[in-house]
């Protein structure tokens, strides 16, 4: 379980997250929604140790991870798919995936057949440079790369940004399948309501750096008030 308590974080003098608290339950797919600039990406980066936490705590399975270096947070079991994908364009698909195993544990190379089963395109094009991929294919690679580290919890930051709707739906279905089959915990920052409806069990709404509201997937389906209020759509 990922537990965030009274988190304050930001950039330099600017505080973006203000006493943010939430619990991400093990085995659940949790979606974090909110308008642009509300602090969703800042939260993801704070969890990964990419920006310093000013105060508050982040615990993974009872162990405090804030203050640790990013590579230690990754090795503690948090996989991260950053906004904009950030695949290594000059590397082949195989090298991108190998890199994740080199960072975590070489034994994670054993996960490759499973990754290829989930994402067959990566097997077909394993010698192709990632830079030649479309946005959707790069997103698939970024997700696969994070899964190669063998995470307990996967953080995805706007995985549908700039991707064709049909690919978005495919990715949502595949992530939902992976979560169901493996019990992987997922925290996904997303503004795409269809994707959230497809895969999320629980939805958090963020406003001005704070947790503003939350609901279950069923509640979201039956009542769109929260979507209107926090996403202005």
């Amino acid at each position: 379980m990922l537990e965030i308590s009274n988190l304050n974080a930001g950039y330099g003098e600017v505080t973006v997250l203000r006493n943010f608290s939430c619990r991400i339950e093990t085995g659940q797919v949790t979606a974090l929604m909110g308008r642009n600039g509300m602090g969703k990406t800042t939260l993801m980066k704070s969890i990964m140790g990419l920006i310093p936490v000013k105060s508050g705590t982040i615990h993974l399975n009872g162990i405090q991870i804030n203050g640790k270096e990013t590579y230690k947070i990754s090795r503690a079991g948090i996989g991260y798919v950053p906004q904009g994908r950030e695949v290594f364009e000059q590397f082949t698909v195989a090298e991108n995936l190998r890199l994740a195993a080199l960072g975590s544990s070489l034994s994670n190379l054993d996960r490759l057949p499973q990754i290829h089963d989930w994402f067959p395109i990566l097997k077909e094009r394993h010698d192709q440079k990632a830079g030649t991929f479309s946005g959707g294919q790069q997103q698939v690679l970024a997700i696969a790369r994070a899964l190669m580290t063998g995470p307990e919890i996967l953080l995805l930051d706007e995985p549908t940004e700039g991707i064709q709707p049909n690919i978005v739906h495919e990715i949502s279905l595949q992530l939902a399948r992976i979560a169901r089959e493996t019990g992987l915990t997922i925290l996904v920052v997303e503004q795409n309501v269809d994707m959230v409806r497809t895969m999320a069990d629980h939805i958090l709404f963020m406003e001005n750096g704070q947790l503003a509201d939350q609901c279950s997937a069923e509640e979201l389906r039956s009542d769109e008030t929260l979507i209107h209020r926090y996403l202005s759509i």
Partner: protein, 286 residues
């Protein structure tokens, strides 16, 4: 035609040593954003280690080995004590390593004095090239330099270490989120860069006068090579080293060394003006 061969070979040996020095500089700059002004002095320390080894009667090869190891260890110390505190602060690295270069030079003056030292070439034989004879050691130096350059390329382009290093150069934060210890990689790369400088200093010691100022003679062309080469962190150094080293060395045959250096600077300015991204980088988009 044959008379052009000795200066061509001289130019080639200079180019290869310059590439060795510039490769070390480029690894450190490309990966960590550290402009190491003390790189020339690490090259100098390598040559002085060779002086000491020879005075102790140790074989030349052992001297080269010791130079690499000791300068590598010195690099480790410098990284731990100085560089790791100023990663990514490029301007600060210039000041800090400049200070370090002065300290290293003065340290050498205190131990060995300001006068030049000499290292006897391990091979005094020559090879006949038509009517000319060419020192065998220079050919050996070229072979050793090519092997070291090849080894460095292999390390960075064909191994798992190289894969992680190139990932850290491209996207350090993303590499860290995959569990890669970027700090440890920086340290290892810095040591590799300094080791290369130490070995280059030891190898070139029999051909030049070993004195406290010798580092500067390779540091400036080394930086110029990186600027002129541009593009990929490793391939650019090859192109830049060949252009800068070749121009300097060949012009010295016909004009004075000072005029040759001026010509090299003019060439570098022209290249940077016409191709801001370097010889391999192409023109900057409008």
């Amino acid at each position: 035609m044959i008379e052009i061969l000795p200066p061509l070979l001289d130019a080639l040996s200079y180019i290869l040593v310059l590439i060795l020095v510039a490769l070390g500089l480029m690894i450190v700059f490309g990966m960590m954003g550290v402009i190491n002004m003390a790189h020339g002095e690490l090259f100098m320390v390598g040559a002085y280690v060779m002086v000491v080894c020879q005075s102790l009667g140790l074989p030349f090869l052992v001297g080269v080995l010791f130079s690499g190891i000791l300068v590598g260890l010195l690099g480790l110390l410098i990284e731990a004590a100085l560089i790791r505190h100023i990663y990514t602060r490029t301007l600060d690295t210039i000041l800090a390593t400049w200070g370090l270069s002065i300290a290293l030079k003065q340290g050498i003056v205190l131990i060995f004095g300001p006068e030049a030292q000499s290292v006897i070439s391990p091979l005094s034989d020559t090879v006949s090239l038509g009517e000319f004879s060419y020192p065998l050691y220079r050919l050996l130096l070229m072979g050793a330099s090519i092997a070291l350059i090849g080894l460095t390329f292999w390390l960075f382009l064909k191994t798992d270490f190289g894969l992680t290093a190139r990932a850290v150069i491209a996207r350090p934060d993303t590499a860290a989120t995959l569990g890669i210890n970027t700090r440890s990689l920086y340290r290892r790369s810095f040591v590799i860069g300094t080791t290369l400088a130490g070995i280059a200093g030891a190898l070139v010691a029999p051909l030049i006068s070993v004195d406290p100022q010798m580092g500067l003679g390779y540091l400036i062309p080394g930086f110029l090579s990186i600027l002129v080469g541009g593009a990929g962190p490793l391939a650019g150094v090859l192109a830049g080293g060949a252009a800068v080293g070749g121009t300097n060395s060949l012009l010295t045959v016909w004009i004075s060394p000072v005029a040759a250096q001026i010509a090299v600077f003019i060439m570098a300015i022209l290249v940077i003006r016409l191709r801001p991204e370097g010889l391999l980088g192409g023109r900057r988009g409008k």
